[in-house]
């Protein structure tokens, strides 16, 4: 197929960006949840 490499690159880019972004959001959610748990513990300890 002519110019298939452009189609393949576009295909990979689209889903790579979506998945990479979703992974960063999920990681940030985990970090903030841990921070909230730590702060709650600190607040209850005082």
């Amino acid at each position: 197929m002519k110019n298939f490499e452009f189609l393949l690159t576009a295909w990979i880019v689209v889903w790579a960006i979506f998945f990479a972004y979703e992974i960063t959001v999920a990681r940030r959610i985990t970090q903030v949840r841990e921070e909230i748990a730590r702060l709650r513990q600190q607040l209850n300890g005082n």
């Binding site: 197929m1 110019n3 576009a10 607040l43």
Partner: protein
Amino acid sequence: MKARWFFTMVVAALIFFAGYAALFVAPDEKTMHAVQRIFYFHLPSWIAMFSALCVVFYANVAYLVTKKRKFDALGVAGVEVGVMCCTIGLITGPLWARPVWGIWWTWDARLTTTFILWILYISYLLLRGLLEDPEKKATLSAIFGIFAFLDVPLVYLSNRLWRTQHPQPVIAGGNGSGLDPLMGKVLLLCVVAVFCVMVLVYIDRYRLELLRNECDELKFEIESRNTQPANLGATSTRRAGS
């Protein structure tokens, strides 16, 4: 949580079927052949971006009217998701243009207004990073977001108002525009799939922003508890001194 998993599974199935339809079901375009299939992800990413930015506009106006932080969270989440969709469009566009036009990029009205849009919303995110006070940050970014949204209709209308290198609209573009019926169905499936992915990501990003707000409130509470005894101590010392 169950609903969330169900929605994720539906989106995963949609991605699979949309991808299959775009690559194998849609008919071959006579002049561009394989590279034309980029269109099935290029156009849906713009539709997803426009939808996200419309929500941002609503959230920005709602924040300025109500001053509720949930609207600020909705706004910033939408900007990040919108920038992501815009980035996809700005990458897939040149990947289509290179074999079809012979160039990666040209400064025509559609491409330039889109690039400005991308820069504007990146600036929105940078602006938020520079401001410390949460209320000031939310107010200024809401005002900036409303200003940035002025470019959205301009992007949409650019290839209708001016002669551009970018193709004229194939949908709702007047006489001579239109798609092969099967291409139209595949495009619709791809639009639904990319839109659902955008919604899924948007919900997660919004949740993250709400959690950040909760975290800030807890930090403020701890800080105020820690400073209260010190202030009382300072007051009693002053009283003793006087």
